[in-house]
Amino acid sequence: MRIGEVFLGILTAVGGFVDISELVFGAQAGSRFGFALIWVFAFATIGIMVFGEMSGRVAAIAKQPVFNLMRHRLGLKMGLVTLIASLASNLITCAAEIGGMALVLHLLTGAPVSLLAVASTLALIASVWVLPFKWIERSYGLLGLFMIVFAVAVVAIHPPWAQVASAAIPNIPAGLTSSELLTYAYFVVAIVSAVMFPYETYFYSSGGIEDKWTEKDLGVNRLTTLVGFGLGSLLAISILVSAAQLFGPLHIDPQMPGTVALEAAIPFGKAGLLLALLGMLFAISGAAVETCLANAYSVSQFFGWEWGRYKKPWEAPRFTLAWLAVFVTGLALVLTGIDPLTLVEYAVVFSILVLPLTYLPLLLLAGDRTYMHSHANGPVAKILGWSFYAIIVLAALAALPLFVMTSGGQL
């Protein structure tokens, strides 16, 4: 195993873990419920580790990304339903990320949000056109490491560590009214969705194929998903903890990205604010690229087209047109004037509805010895996989009623 490569891969996974929905829901969760929702981040992170590892293993052994084998396994009809649902979910998420980039850039420059959304999309298109896959993955992931300022900020404000640690165990805070309990349940579902977004496994497994993974890379896959995703999740938890300490007591509801950035500004002043905004900008940009490419991967793999950004854009032309179309449609959604944070809410709710469709074929494939030979799911992966799957299905069933009953967590 090449140590430098592994280290870089882990750092990339850390920097690429957080996106706009985790920023928004992490900060709001902390402000409203103190440390009580930390366990949901920890729990959902184990879920994304399990499914991320599986998707990477399928890519390395079957040499096929998830969507390719998914169609073969589910057939055309069910495959089409899954394709359309994930395209819609990823598109809304991509639009939310573009909107989020524009909001952060607005804070940095003061220019109009719509103009910045156009500029952001053009910059994203240029980067994906010019850079090969490895560079895209690494540059956004590594630049996203500016987000570490949030972890350092938590240490600087000295939270009660014993309380933080005890909140990693599932709990329901005492004394909540029934409407607050519903909102708490909505946040549980939203955080599970935000951490386990379906685009993550599509992007991760397709990335494994882009990087030409083989059986030899299974160790890298395991380390990246365990250590990289684990440390990335700590950044999201840091945002929650700071919000609980700084905003909760003042009854501030940190809905805007600018408010989240204050978590670093309070202990470190202007430098902290700048680092936080840069970290957020790059983390959100990386997620925009991942959601967009995830859609292009899915559609190309479903129809068997040439795909991959290890090729020049004109060497996989339908794949290229697909990602260009996703960026342009995502931008169009933002330019309709929908609040990017409303898009985040829709993305989170819609994604949890899609998750069972996404993860079922993956579970079946990873356990299928025809494709996976001796690397098919063992007992631990099976138990973890199916347990998380059952929880995802429950969360998906509860998501829409909770969204409606709590007016999107606003109660």
Binding site: Q64, W135, F302, F303, G304, P313, R318, L321
Partner: protein, 117 residues
């Protein structure tokens, strides 16, 4: 597995990725074409690729949408042009020779061929 080997035909081959002799991805096995008479042996004639081959696999309204937006094009790949089947179908000829590159070429015409590292 060799083309002459035993396999569950429809579930084993349908909806698999097809790659040509040079490893180029060139579609999905959307359906299979059989030849034979009642009482006689059944043989596979070809793999069908293209939106026209969805007919019979999708509901009528869905097929109407497919026809409207993707057309009814079908390319027939003779079974004899298969080299092997694993998690993909491997062809013994190029995608170009089998007429599987027309849509890809149309898309390529729109894109500039510069600026990428």
């Amino acid at each position: 597995m060799k083309p002459g080997g035993r396999l569950k035909l429809v579930s084993g081959v349908r909806d698999l990725q097809i790659v040509d002799r040079d490893g180029r991805k060139c579609g999905i096995a959307d359906d299979l074409e059989f030849a034979g008479k009642p009482g006689g042996p059944l043989t596979i004639k070809a793999i069908l690729v293209g939106p026209g081959a969805y007919s019979g696999r999708l509901a009528r309204w869905a097929m109407w949408l497919v026809r409207r937006f993707a057309g009814t094009r079908i390319v027939r790949i003779p079974w004899s042009d298969l080299r092997g089947i694993d998690s993909m179908i491997h062809l013994s000829r190029t995608a170009e020779e089998l007429g599987l590159t027309s849509a890809e070429k149309r898309a390529a015409r729109i894109l500039p061929r510069r600026g990428a590292l």
